[in-house]
């Protein structure tokens, strides 16, 4: 995962450097000679739409697509990859032969087997690459050779992925005709190697049952992954730190992680869980039985959000479904089942208390009572709940009990605060009712008094013969 982030940083840096200076674009070019403008190369002059010769439209494709390419943005020209002579007189009758002469180092279009070396000519050259980014990695070609893809390619299987299969743009999704001239930066959200696109990119081959037939491996990984919590986190919640294919399988050195490595792979993010698991007795048992550590319970591609019920229930036999505690811990004399149940009951009790407190606080808030302080207090309980759920990975109920007890206390306090707020709400209503009765009493008294003084005034006026009130 780190690798990916570093990469995107590098590409950004690279773009910045390129845009800020007229960087020399030619690989072997002397820094003293002024760089040849891309548009002025004889390559572009012939391979473009404005070309007067009758070249087939497909010959124009590279130039057309290269406009969007990250290499173009870095100031590279055709001959930087393909070699040849970029400054021939295009009107000469033998212009093509001159430009494409082997003596000028023309390399043309590489065969699939040659692609890694073709890209690696620059990308494995630390001295050259450091011009664009002093921190850039140059081990991709080397890593690729160790990968299943690289090994198969070396054996002559051209169906496997090479550099451009993943990094090239794929108009219309035709995988065989991956276009190498629209390579995007890793940070480009629409590019095929952006974290959100990686599963689709890998899936273009790996989900194609017909294409993958001869390799005898499943083709449902993408479909399963897209139902997983990691995919939800990555795509729906736009959390780019959530893993996609390459975060577990590596990218250039792509190979499936072994059974024993699994806890380490998952542990890069789920560190505490992996740590606890390795400390537990279960780790030894799993190792003896060659069971994939995390995978047994959580699956691999389809990793659904875990539930507390996994501690006590059995799976429904779906092969894609994961194992639950009770799938293995069967029998009345099994000691594991009660442990699972103890941890489950503790967590469930805390969960209930947290939910109960949340409901009370929501109720208080709906009644217009400010409860932000209680809500803050409750985060202590939700944190403890997360902690308890992590703590189960050592399968020691004592380790779960501590956060459960702490969280329960906090949740109960928050609950009490919420109830106090609701009680205050009803107190205000009772206060209002009593006050209104009091006010009504005052008003009645006043009205009675008004009538009394009015009557007296009238009586006085009647006796004093219409004179005004006495001075």
């Amino acid at each position: 995962m780190n690798t990916r982030r570093e990469h995107s940083v590098h590409v950004v840096l690279l773009a910045l450097m390129v845009s800020s200076s007229a960087l020399s674009s030619v690989h072997a070019q002397d820094a003293q000679t002024p760089p040849l403008a891309y548009e002025a190369t004889s390559c572009v002059m012939c391979h473009s739409d404005s070309d007067p010769r009758n070249m087939p439209p497909s010959a124009h494709d590279p130039v057309e697509h290269f406009e969007q390419d990250v290499h173009r943005a870095a100031g590279l020209s055709c001959h930087d990859c393909h070699g040849g002579a970029p400054e021939v007189d295009v009107d000469a009758p033998d212009a093509k032969d001159l430009a494409h002469a082997a003596s000028a180092g023309f390399r043309g279009r590489p065969a699939p087997q040659d692609v890694p070396a073709f890209c690696g000519r620059c990308h494995s050259d630390a001295a050259y690459m450091s011009r664009f980014d002093p921190d850039v990695r140059v081990d991709q070609e080397q890593l690729y050779a160790t990968s299943v893809h690289g090994q198969k390619l070396a054996e002559g299987d051209v169906k496997v992925a090479n550099c451009i299969s993943c990094h090239g743009r794929h108009p219309g999704g035709e995988m065989a005709s991956a276009l190498a001239h629209g390579i995007t930066a890793i940070s480009d959200p629409n590019g095929p190697v952006h974290p959100t696109q990686v599963a689709t990119t890998c899936g273009r081959c790996h989900s194609d049952a017909a294409y993958m037939k001869e390799y005898g491996i499943p083709t449902d990984q993408q479909a399963l992954y897209e139902r997983s919590v990691h995919h939800t986190q990555l795509v729906e919640k736009e959390d780019l730190s959530a893993p996609t294919c390459n975060d577990c399988h590596g990218n250039h050195g792509a190979r499936p992680p072994g059974v024993a490595d699994l806890a380490f792979v998952c542990g890069t993010c789920h560190g505490r869980q992996a740590e606890l698991f390795r400390e537990s007795t279960m780790a030894t048992v799993f190792e003896m039985n060659e069971l994939g550590e995390c995978m047994v319970c959580h699956g691999n591609h389809l990793i659904v959000p875990p539930s507390d019920a996994m501690l006590v229930s059995q799976g429904d036999g779906d092969p894609n479904e994961v194992q639950r505690c009770s799938d293995c811990h069967t029998g009345s004399d099994d000691t594991g089942a009660p442990i699972g149940k103890a941890m489950h009951d503790g967590i469930l009790a805390l969960d209930d208390k947290v939910h109960g407190a949340e409901e009370v606080l929501a109720d208080a808030e709906a009644k217009g009572m400010p409860v932000s302080e209680a809500e803050f207090h409750l985060t202590g309980a939700t944190d403890a709940l997360i902690e308890a759920r992590v703590a189960i990975h050592r399968f020691d109920p004592a380790l779960v009990e501590e956060p459960v007890a702490r969280g329960s206390k906090v949740a109960e306090e928050a609950h009490a605060m919420g109830e106090a707020a609701i009680a205050d709400f009803y107190f205000r209503h009772r206060w209002l009712a009593i006050s209104l009765v009091g006010i009504a009493f005052v008003i009645v008294s006043l009205v009675l008094k008004v009538r009394q003084v009015d009557r007296r005034l009238e009586a006085r006026r009647a006796t004093s013969g219409g004179r005004d009130a006495p001075a």
Binding site: P370, L436, L446, V450, D468
Partner: protein
């Protein structure tokens, strides 16, 4: 009194002695002599007293709030939150202060309207009117400055918009804006300034002007409308009118606490018409703390009594006859305010005649258009809605003009006041309902 008390004795009557020493005898005699005329419009006389009561509530709760409130941009919001949540009965004190402020403006508007329509401002009460209008403006100032003090999001942006309005004044606009805000923008400096205005400058001015106003009222007594149907001899102010006043005060106190307690959970419209006027639920909720660097929150609205101005300035075209529209709007409101002050001097019609129909029509039309604009502002209306609101306002205005013309043939022009106000209310409600559906 009997001669007994006038003879020089070693122990003169305690009450009169203390009264004499403290100078209370003057008030006693004033109270004894003050009378209130009785006719079909006597009810409007209670408005002034009611405003006085609400003002007293303001003073009392305002002083209490001062004990916990902190006037700085870093602490104001938190201190108001503290008052609302931690201080015992703090919720009541702060709610009373903000809700009664709104009721006060409402009562002042009714008071002003009744004096206008009954032409109580005519000679010799011109200065009662002028001081009253000055008080009205002072209370608007109280409302405007007080709105900012909790330093919450809505108030912040409403103040930013409100203090920007004088910027359209020709020549000195920018200076006035700087003067109001204590800087080019609404910041903590504005808060300090508004706080000083709210708790020192305005109260001092109000004390003086209110003294003047009450003195004028005392001096000239209550004005009897020329065409009033007298219902008997005037009643003494003490106790007959005062007791009746108290009934009103307690009634409005009951209304106040009912709004305060029920508003947070009342469904929309249940506290009609207050829901629509000043949205007590919204008013009592603090919302988010103001953040000068956040983008303006949705639903920014000034207080309801500034809505007509806010909406009018929003609707005025950018340029009118080659002049800047907003500047014209501001000028128009300035002139409008001046006309309001000068009403007693403009209306020089012989005081024996019935109210001038044109003056009445103008007053009614102002109310109608003001209500329509306020309705628009309340609902943040889209184009169709604003057309509806304008049409409603214009129809109401026209209806009033027509009925005034028709009314001239009949006698008892005052009888028009209630039906026209009633009709306006109906129109207002209808417009609100339509608009509420639309939005």
């Amino acid at each position: 009194m009997e001669p007994r008390s006038s003879s020089p004795g070693p122990e003169p009557d305690r009450g009169s002695s203390w009264g004499a020493r403290l100078g209370l005898d003057l008030f006693k005699s004033l109270a004894e002599h003050k009378t209130v005329p009785r006719h079909q419009h006597t009810i409007w006389y209670y408005m002034g007293g009611m405003a006085l009561f609400l003002f007293m509530v303001q003073v009392a709760t305002g002083i209490l709030l001062l004990l916990y409130y902190r006037p700085s941009s870093t602490e104001a919001y938190e201190s108001v939150q503290f008052i609302m949540t931690k201080v015992s009965w703090g919720w009541l004190v702060r709610s009373l202060h903000s809700i009664s402020a709104n009721l006060l403006v409402l009562v002042l508007l009714v008071h002003l309207g009744s004096v206008y329509f009954l032409r109580a401002y005519r000679k010799p009460r011109e200065f009662t009117w002028v001081s009253g209008i000055a008080l009205f403006f002072l209370f608007l100032g109280f409302g405007f400055s007080g709105y900012l003090l909790p330093w919450n999001e809505l108030a912040y942006f409403a103040t930013a918009v409100g203090t920007d309005i004088p910027g359209a004044m020709p020549g000195m606009g920018e200076f006035v804006v700087r003067l109001l805000r204590g800087g080019p923008d609404v910041t903590g400096a504005t808060l300090s300034r508004f706080y000083g205005l709210h708790v020192a400058i305005l109260p001092a001015l109000t004390t003086v002007v209110m003294g003047l106003h009450l003195y004028q009222v005392q001096l000239h007594g209550m004005s009897t409308p020329k065409r009033a149907r007298i219902k008997g001899p005037p009643m003494p102010f003490v106790p007959h009118f005062l007791l009746r006043d108290l009934v009103g005060w307690f009634a409005i106190l009951g209304l106040l606490i009912t709004i305060i307690v029920l508003a947070p959970t009342a469904p929309k419209g249940a506290l009609f018409p207050f829901d629509f006027l000043f949205d007590p639920k919204h008013l009592l909720e603090l919302g988010n703390k103001a953040d000068p660097f956040s983008s303006a929150a949705a639903g920014i609205k000034p207080e309801w009594y500034f809505l007509f101005m806010y909406q009018a300035l929003k609707m005025i075209p950018a340029t009118v006859l080659g002049l800047e529209g907003e500047m014209l709007g501001v000028l128009a409101f300035g002139v409008g305010g001046l006309v309001l002050v000068l009403v007693p001097f403009l209306d020089r019609g012989a005081s024996g005649l019935p109210p001038h129909p044109l003056a009445r029509a103008a007053g009614s039309a102002i109310i109608a258009v003001g209500l329509a604009l306020a309705a628009l502002g309340t609902f943040c209306m889209v184009e169709m809605g604003s057309t509806l609101g304008i049409v409603g306002g214009v129809i109401a205005g026209l209806w009033i003009v027509v009925s005034v013309v028709l009314d001239r043939r009949r006698r008892g022009a005052e009888s028009l006041l209630f039906p026209s106000l009633g009709l306006l209310t109906v129109l207002f409600i209808v417009a609100m309902t339509i608009v509420g559906r639309l939005s």
